[in-house]
Each structure stands twice: as C-alpha cells, then as structure tokens.
Symmetry: C2
Subunit: 248 residues, 2 copies
Amino acid sequence: MPRYKAIIAYDGTNFNGFQAQPNGRTVQEEIEKTLKKMNNGQTITIFGSGRTDAGVHASGQVIHFDYPEKRDLEKMRFALDTQTPEDIAVKSVEVVPDTFHARYHAIGKTYEFRVDIGKPRSPFRRFYASYYPYPLDLGKIESALKDLLGTHDFTSFCASGSSVDDKIRTIHEASMRVNETGDELIFTFKGDGFLYKMIRILVGTLLKIGNNRLEADAIPEIIAGKDRNLAGPTAHPEGLYLVEVSYD
Amino acid sequence: MPRYKAIIAYDGTNFNGFQAQPNGRTVQEEIEKTLKKMNNGQTITIFGSGRTDAGVHASGQVIHFDYPEKRDLEKMRFALDTQTPEDIAVKSVEVVPDTFHARYHAIGKTYEFRVDIGKPRSPFRRFYASYYPYPLDLGKIESALKDLLGTHDFTSFCASGSSVDDKIRTIHEASMRVNETGDELIFTFKGDGFLYKMIRILVGTLLKIGNNRLEADAIPEIIAGKDRNLAGPTAHPEGLYLVEVSYD
C-alpha cells in the first residue's frame, strides 16, 4: 500500500487540538473522516509530526498515511483539500517510502509566535496573535533570545504534566522581527524538537524580560535552575504556529 | 452636549453589516448598547460614515455621537474599546464641533479589497480575503485600473436596488499590489464616494479582465454602456475593507 506524506495548514481556532480525543473537534478526526469517504468507507489512520494544542495553528504540519491506491498526486491533494472543512488546507501530497514516519523521522521543527502589540487589539488578529499591550524593551528581548541558542536541559520551560523524561533540546534559531506596520512581533524558533508548551513558556518569559520584570540575562539562570516556576507565564495558544517540520 | 468622533475597526464576519436593522447582529447596535450602559441606561444614537454590508470589514470606519459628559478622551476610547465585543475596536476618539456629521461631511473614502490567489486557499484568510484560484494576467488588470480614474457615471458598477439617483463619482486612486508572499492581491480604491456594491463589482470585473474573459480595454465601454449587465460579477464581501474616511 503506498504511503503518502502531506503538508497541511489549519486554523486552530475551532479545533480542540490536532490529535483525536474523546472531546471536541480535532484536525486528525476531520482528515480521517475525509479519507474514509475517499476510501469507500474503510478507515485510514493518519500520523502527525506531533500534536498541537487547542487554538494553536499550523501552516506546515506534516502527516503520513497509507492509502490503498496510487493516485495522481495533484488530484489526491485537491480532493483532500476541498473535501476537508475550510479551516484545513492541504498544501502538498507526495508518495514516500513505507518506512517514512511523520513523527519518528522528524529531525527539526520551526514554530512562529505572533504577538499583537497594537493599541487597540486588532479585531482581525484576535484568533491569530496573542495580545500584549504593555511597554516592551525589544533590545532586552533580542539579547535574551541569544541565550536560548544551543543544547540545554529545558526543564524550566516545560509544562508540568509532560511525560517526557529527556528534556534536553537544541535550539538552532531564536529570533524576533516586527511586522511592516509595527504592531506585531513575530518570534521564530527552530530546533530539533520542543517540549510540551515550551514555545509558549519561552515567549511568556521573553515578554516578561521585555517588560522589565526579569533581567535581560535571566535565561541562563532559569535554564540552570531546572524549575518551571523560574520561567515566565505560558503565552496564549492563538499566537502559536507550527510552520515547518524537517526530515533527513 | 459634546459631539465625539471615533475611528473604529471591526471584523465583519459575524455582523449583518454596520447599520441597525431588524435581523441579525450589527456594529451600530453593539456600540449603541455599550454607550447606553456607559450613559446610565440612556440611549445614544451613533451615525456612521456609511453602511457596510454583511461580512465586510472596516479598519477605519468613522462614527459620531453626542454624549452628555466631557470625558478624558483616552479613557473614553478605552472604555468603548474594551466594553464593546472583541470584533469591534475603537482606535481613536476626539471631540468635534457639534455641526460635524460623519456621513454628510465625508469628502472621500478609501477601500481595500483583498484576494487570496494562493493554492490552496489559506485557512487563515477564509473570512478576510475573497478566493480566486484561476489564472490571472496582472498586467491586464494594471492597465484596466487606469481607465477607472477620474469622474464617470458608474451606473454599470452599481448593484440594482440602489436608490441613489446621481451615479457620477470620482476615483482618485485605483491600484493593485501583491503581498510579500505572492499569494494575495490587494486592491486600493480612493474616491469621493462609492455606489452600492461598487467596489465589489469593480473587483469582479477586474478579475474577469485578468482571467482573459474581458479585454484589457473593456472598462471605458462598460462605463459608457450604463448597464450593470456589462460589468463582471460582484466579488464576495469578505475581501472588502473600509480603510479610511476623509473630512475637510
């Protein structure tokens, strides 16, 4: 049976996250429902590169699934894209070796986190950026971002309730830019993987630094302390986007 | 009683247009509800620069209203902004002479119209841009835009059902740009005023020209014909934004 890899985007606003679960609408269930229809009522299971939480968006989530037929790839993409609900888009579909696994073979992930810093909050971004109306020293944030680079034990930036033992991760890029109109911050984080709610806690901590409630050089100490209480609050999910998943 | 002018923004998705009416939620009613609360239960009527249809957005709609007290302007703005629902934002408030009228004294309006031309349609823009997945010759559109400039009888670009007699309007700017990522067209129209659904019919016609189903030089003939049937279809409301209203 051919294995397909697809790159998908979704507006997380009306999903209770990516992964199928007893309560609420999920991305996985909507795609599996569509695949089942395309496959004459036979269930097809999809595997994502990882879950995303309720309200979190994706512009480049990767999934894989096995489908009994070899189909024209653009037709397959178009069918999946148009038959899934409007808050899911299917950007590309390709055939991969049947050893490919969207989750286990992912070697890197890129996330963006958007913060609306305008006054007032833009009604157009209320589901697409977190809101932060307080003063920010962007120079302090820039300086703190550098301390995140490299390989560290990120226990302090992992939400309690995570079942992962190894909390060592490598961050290759941690950067920030301001949008054209000067009313939005866009953080980019690239790494080999991220812990549960790690990006949101990183952003909450960076904003606390920018707002002068933590020192610009606070990050190394927070990392060294291996204690979630040392870091800042968890930023809201609506600012977070899974942008890219990379494979060998 | 002091008269206030306010610049407001709203996400039109969940409104049945700007103006109060028997059916559905409107921007006017939500703001009047808030002002009534602020004014100890006494009704205050607001006047907009003009109506916008269901699904149409505004980043710079102007309203005026009389409020019995002289209040600190930033406090007034903040109260209105935070007490109205999240899909309405109040950007600025100022006191104006009590002869000022948001509608009758408007001398110009600027609209933008956004068209998602990406494949697939972005799930993040499904309420914020119209979708056009067909081939477009942007050079033809650029050329046609020039023919809209100046003073013309725009009967051909006015939806039937309009009660306006004088259909002569002046367009000062008609331009188009492509966004950074190349998957969105942004049209800008600036003029002394626009007829009912005029911008949406202009865009529908320009897209038809770009798609080679009308000649690049079709606009002067369509204008001369004074017949709605000569122009293209009415583009969807979700791409339209009232961006600015100007006064003397």
